[in-house]
Symmetry: C2
Subunit: 423 residues, 2 copies
């Protein structure tokens, strides 16, 4: 297969490229996203690869409203640094921040670590500039919090994984930088206690709660074994990481202190530690953020990114562990509990079709029975396009195909991705 | 003109009605929204009027996540009461809450008084059930915070004013009920001080700020004259209403106290009062919420609902006041300053084409020059459909027409609304 890499600098250049491809029926694969896991940004056959890496200019920043307007190729971490110098933060944060582009984040509707507090990109993205398949530049790059003039077209492109248009610029609302950030890392005796800790924490920490993450004991063992990170608390079946972000350090410490006292006193939590200084905060976050890395060192990894009702969130881990028995090296569960988002990962010495057969469609069917989502935050890409039907009815899949046909009648944008291969 | 009113109870009945209308090319006008101002829910010619008033059942409520699933005809105020009994609040609140339906709120992408804190319905609505023009029931009624399986179809219908489908059920994320609510009502010597008060307040109140509303002195004179409401502070050119909502009454009072001390000490604010008890909180809110009522008693009202950059937000009021001179009875500005949303209202003894001619297209052109929105939160409906072009480029209007043609090829859903009459 032959591939051509193009690196335009402006939306006009993107428009020119797409018009050319559209006229000649050439497939285009936009890059810069965070779709590695599902193969969303990997060209499948002969394709023009369109990189937004050189479209990396901040276009404007408003210091009262916190509205940032920038080109799609800006790296998330660089944007974070830019707005933090101005006393704001980006409304999203994820492990891949050092390499992923904001345009890719929007195209894949990235979730990440700040979702619980600041919500979805469907709410925080205020405007987009998009180049359509035929080269038309669609300018919906407003910097307004409210705009009800007609259909909210930008929403179509958030999470469409480059299959409906190429995002070339983004307008996004940044929250003020919190003056105090605290992290607590706790051990819980069971999953029921993890859930109760979450409820208690929502009540007692309220508006300052900014993350509620969990991991099971196997995750902790693997970050210990492969990355030599030591657990900061006694061994427990489950661990919880709670982050608060607020405007008054004293008030926040007081809220977190009362919560911890209550959680320890009532037996919801068996051991815990707290951090306010940057170094320890980072160290505690690393235990959670580096699980993926530890897993990849453990062997071949089967990954599932599921949304499930909170009560059933961990049942699938126990179920799969029992189902696979010694055929799996490790079966682990961790993720953004506060958002109902579980990362179920299975490691084995190597890829095996029979192990895959034991996992799929079982995991998808199980998720569908709970009305869950088979792709919570990682997108669909190439690998998962045929499992959409587990979370969406045929009428929805048909409307998706119609939208694709309307916006990209020749099917040149990121082909073989996202939509089922047979409609 | 002949009108038929239908009041289905289920989405199956809605489906049956739409299939019938689709086959016979009959226009359907869905009702239940908050589109009175722009005539969005008023049938124009012969139409079937489809009322969702009997579709008023709560389908489920999850007491940990706060996710509410209900039929589209539930009245907002009743839903508020329902979730407040369970220690949550609705993420939106508006003056029309006693009569508007949640389905109408979603169809018109209603903004309202909690927007500053909880954001847009594009972020808080988790799922929708929609009946399409041909009667197809599109079930995207998930209760998941994160779901990246395919295009986020529900977004298409949020703010489409019933022109792409009829919303029959809504899944929405409710925030926890705050334990403490405080309101401060302040007088400011000028608009520059209003803006500085907003900046200061964002910094010092941070995550507990839940509303920042403003009104000019003429608004206060009119609520005094027509509704006999007395100003709680000394007369000032501008007034600001600040609300905080938080989980700890003591912490919130301390934050608000320091802020007020700073604001008074620095001259940003010349007089102020504060309320924590329900009665006084309601009394202060009434000054802001009842402006519309006072205006309607003042005469014929020309209403504009604009999004503008904060710095220029009040300039249009001054400009219009000078432009109209004695031809207008009163020209007032008030609104959701925290969201950049101005309500510019002009009263006169009666409607006059020449006064309208002095206002339009002047107000729209002025707004377009500032890259503002000519319809911030009230929708487009029948009256404003020909002014969309002031806020959206031709490429966007064309794509809107294409989406309309795709989803409602016979144009039976809410005709003559939202989209420009000539494309």
């Amino acid at each position: 297969s032959s591939k051509v890499l193009l690196r335009p600098r402006t939306s006009e250049e993107v428009s020119h490229i797409l018009r050319h491809c559209h006229e000649r029926n050439l497939a285009v694969n936009p890059q810069g996203g965070n779709t590695g896991m599902v193969g969303g940004s990997v060209p499948v056959f002969d394709e023009i690869i369109l990189s937004t890496a050189r479209m990396n200019q901040v276009l404007s920043f408003h210091s009262v409203s916190g509205i940032l307007v920038c080109q799609a190729g800006c790296v998330l971490e660089e944007l974070s640094r830019y707005v933090e110098e101005r006393d704001f933060i980006m409304p999203l944060d994820l492990g891949a921040k050092g390499s992923c582009h904001i345009g890719g984040n929007v195209a894949t509707n990235a979730g990440g670590l700040r979702f619980l507090r600041y919500g979805s990109l469907h709410g925080t993205v205020l405007g987009l500039e998009v180049v359509l398949a035929d080269g038309t530049i669609l300018d919906c790059l407003t910097s307004l919090r409210k705009d009800n003039t007609g259909y909210d077209l930008k929403q179509l492109f958030i999470g469409s994984e480059g299959t409906l248009g190429v995002i070339t610029a983004v307008s996004i609302l940044c929250p003020p930088k919190p003056r105090a950030v605290n992290v607590a890392f706790l051990g819980c005796p069971g999953f029921a206690e993890v859930l109760q800790t979450f409820s208690t924490c929502k009540g007692m920490l309220g508006e300052i709660l900014s993350a509620f993450e969990f991991m099971d004991v196997v995750c902790m063992q693997l970050v210990g074994r492969h990355l030599h990170l030591a657990s900061p608390v006694q061994e427990s079946p489950f661990y919880v990481l709670i982050e608060t972000s607020g405007s008054n350090a004293g008030h926040d410490a007081e809220k977190l202190g009362s919560f911890l006292e209550h959680a320890l006193g009532s037996g919801l939590v068996t051991d815990g530690t707290m951090a306010t200084d940057q170094t320890k905060v980072k160290m505690l976050w690393a235990l959670r953020e580096r699980i993926t890395e530890a897993l990849s060192r453990d062997g071949y990894v089967y990954k599932y990114d599921l949304s499930l009702p909170l009560e059933q969130l961990y049942d699938i881990v126990t179920d799969v562990r029992a189902r696979l028995g010694p055929r799996a090296k490790h079966v682990v569960g961790y993720g953004h509990l506060g958002d109902g988002n579980l990362h179920l990962n299975v490691t084995a010495e190597a890829f095996s079709p029979s192990l895959l057969g034991a996992l799929e469609p079982h995991v998808y069917e199980w998720t569908a029975r709970q009305q869950g989502s088979v792709s919570a935050e990682h997108g669909v890409g190439f690998r998962k396009r045929d499992v959409l039907g587990y979370s969406k009815p045929p009428e929805a899949l048909q409307l998706m195909q119609q939208l694709k046909a309307l916006l990209d009648p020749k099917g040149i944008l990121n082909p073989y991705k996202m939509l089922p291969s047979q409609a």
